[in-house]
């Protein structure tokens, strides 16, 4: 019943021809169709950046907010209505730069959202400045003589803060990416999907990535092995994609909350107080 057409938007992506983000969009749609999640129960939340333009290109509910702030918006949505599938789609600047604190804390709380980062190692929309994942020596508009900034490794970072699902995909392999996204959505809690999604205009690393990329599954990686996962995240021998680390034994923050304050979620209608209750609370201190 749920098919790709239902997710089709009449808004044409304004990405540059060849941009990696097309692959991510395709993979996300495929994943939602495969999981049979209806578009109206899906909320795609983004920040600001080329990648963050994604929500308009997939006909689900969407929130195209501020640079760096999609994660807290997504948490608000999820806590307000835990029945929704909430997905963040944004860039490396958005999620690993200005917005990284939100990502880190969502990961450690194990908030039940999926965060897809279109990691192109550059600030695309603002025309090519250094990002937190830019490489040492990389020439950008803000590092004309080559970067002296040590890059962030988002995978080991999220493992370090206790992330329970850490993965990386490649926009050039949308089927594989769709599988990762499906697993991420099904995951109990916070899931990071870092996607190498090259920017063909400001830092085109397609050929290089294609050469280096290999699948963790093919290499026999066991995602429950944190130690190996860290090694793989930090390896300079090729570029592994797949699920680096995963554990399903940690309750999500939303489960924990519901244990405490029940299952009637905030979005389900306002709940007012009757006169007696009001009076009782009014006299609480006297």
């Amino acid at each position: 019943m749920i098919n790709l057409k239902e997710f089709e938007s009449d808004v044409r992506p304004d990405w540059c021809p060849g941009c990696g983000d097309f692959g991510v969009l395709a993979a996300l749609k495929d994943a939602l169709v495969s999981l049979k999640i209806p578009p109206y129960n899906t909320v795609v939340v983004s920040g600001i950046g080329c990648s963050s333009n994604l929500p308009g290109y997939i006909r689900t509910y969407g929130f195209h907010g501020l640079h760096g702030r999609p994660v807290p918006v997504a948490l608000g949505v999820k806590n307000s209505n835990p029945e929704l599938t909430v997905i963040v789609t944004a860039g490396d600047g958005d999620e690993y730069g200005i917005g990284f604190n939100h990502v880190v804390h969502a990961a450690r709380r194990n908030d039940n959202i999926t965060v897809i980062v279109m990691d192109n190692l550059i600030y695309g929309l603002t025309t090519g400045q250094l990002s937190p994942t830019s490489r040492e020596g990389q020439v950008t508009k803000t590092t004309p003589d080559g970067s002296v900034y040590r890059p962030l490794n988002p995978l080991s970072a999220i493992m370090g803060v206790g992330g329970t699902f850490v993965s990386r995909g490649f926009s050039g392999q949308p089927k594989h990416l769709s599988w990762i996204i499906q697993e991420a959505i099904k995951h109990r809690g916070f899931a990071l999907v870092d996607v190498i999604s090259p920017c063909v205009t400001w830092f085109d690393i397609y050929d290089e990535v294609k050469k280096q990329v290999f699948k963790l599954e093919d290499a026999g990686h066991n995602p429950s092995d944190m130690e190996k996962a860290l090694q793989m995240a930090q390896t300079d021998k090729g570029l592994p994609i797949g699920i680096f680390y995963r554990r399903e034994d940690v309750p999500s923050f939303q489960e924990m909350l519901q244990q405490q304050i029940g299952k009637n979620p905030p979005s389900k209608g306002v709940k007012t107080l009757d006169k007696d209750k009001i009076e009782q609370l009014k006299y609480e201190y006297s």
Binding site: R59, P266, V270, T272
Partner: protein, 588 residues
Amino acid sequence: MTKVEDLTVRLGAAAGDGIQSAGEILARILSRSGIYIYTYNGNQSVVRGGHVWFHIHAGNKPVYSMGYGIDYLVAFTQQSMDEHASEVNKGGAIIYDSSSVKPANIPEGIKAVPAELANIALKYDKYPIMKNTVSLGILAALMGIDFKIVEETIHTQFGKKKEDVALRNIQAATEGYQIGSKQERGKELTYDYSRRLPFLHSNYSFSLGAVAAGCRFYAAYPMTPASPIVHWLANHAEELGITVFLAEDEISAINAIIGASYAGARAMAGTSGGGFALMQEALGEAAMTETPIVVVDVMRAGPSTGLPTKTGQGDLNMMLGLSQDDFPRVIVAPVNANDAYSMAIRSFDISDRYQVPVIVLMDFAIGDGAYITITEDFSPAEINRGKLALQASGDMLNGTWFRRYQLTEDGVSPRSIPGTPGLMYVAKTDEHDEFGHDVSDVLAGLKSALKTREQMYEKRMKKLDYIRKEMRPPAVFGPSRVDLTLITWGSSANPAREAIERLRGKGISVNSYEFTDIFPLNQEVEGMLKQAGRLADLEGNYTGQFANYLRRETGVMIKDRMLKYNGEPIYPAEVENFVMKVLGKEVR
């Protein structure tokens, strides 16, 4: 014994001595004796040590502010004696812990009541914390309060803790009461033990109002003096089914409530000035995506970190100039805990019906620890969620986006809630068309898009025209024909009320325009100001932000201003002196 209409009590100690809780017990005792109260928490940004005090103004009729001077001072420390003794009124009394405090600066005509408060307390506990209770016993005796009420209140206060603690406290209080009874009685009020009056401070009553309005999601990062809101809500979370999200910072808090509201919940955040500064970018986000939210700023004395536990009204300019470029917002400022309840309900109502952010300005002078007797009726809320699209028509179920930002007469468009089939849309902070599609990228600057841009800008801003009509002109406190009209906003109304009463007694006729609906201003305001006689401004900041704002909006310049910026609450006596000066009368 002197029967009086109102009196004040001040307890002075070091932080950590439990002065606030003692003050609360006393407030409770008085309220259960049918007495009206206002309290103030003179605390410091220190957890132990220093000098803190708790002030209670109590009366047979409603009181609003600090009252005049001190009638009963309880000095647990030397510093309390040194700082406050000179302010004690004629006929007043000073109770002090004679085991550590020496009498000093005691004006004439004041009774000194030495008592070994700490030593007595140590009889009942291994820490001298019950010295508070001893002093309350003495106070009750001096004030002529029935000990039964003291006993009952202590039972209520410690009810949840061990019964044993309550009993030992009662013993301590009894010993104090005996000491007090040996003294000549002091000033006393007219008690009515059959009447128990409720009291709350504005943080609590606003929280209560918010929950009554159906707020189900609150997000915050703690900040004095807004923290009591999150404490109250967290304490009632299980009972009332509120989700309280303790965010990693204020930016997360406000974005979370925007997400929660977008997904259908009534949602709120609260903070103080510094945290609000960080939230500003997201206020623009809420306005642009047309997501209803309520955000409370409980102001404290700034600038910057400033005096974190002291009061001020310095954040108005920030609210008028929020974030980049123009967008609609509503600013309200309740006077005290009485109207804060209904203001919460109104805030959610306006926010939902116009899909705009509503900002609530309160301050320390009516917040944390500043209890006031609730005389208002707190009615259940009538809920109007505004224009909601609840169900898609058949043709929406295949392939179209919902026209979320439809152009309408009043600028408000029906909104849909995620989870509703067929009404999908993307909420946008980029400029967008009626469908929420960007006009910022491939369309920006095209002739057709310029029109869209203008229409969308006008759509958002014209909400203010409609809201303006719902905004209330200032309430007039006092007589209508006067020598001087005081302009107050939010909490500065309270000391004015007391001063006006006193001035009336002196034959000076003053009233106050109490502004609670700050932005947009009701259209009658200009006329009211122009028709009023002489005007004088009263506010808790350095530049007279509200008076400047009134000039901007109405052209009316108020030259005479009493501006207080030292962090202390405005005292009615100061208002009185100010009025006398403005009117050219001799002070005292």
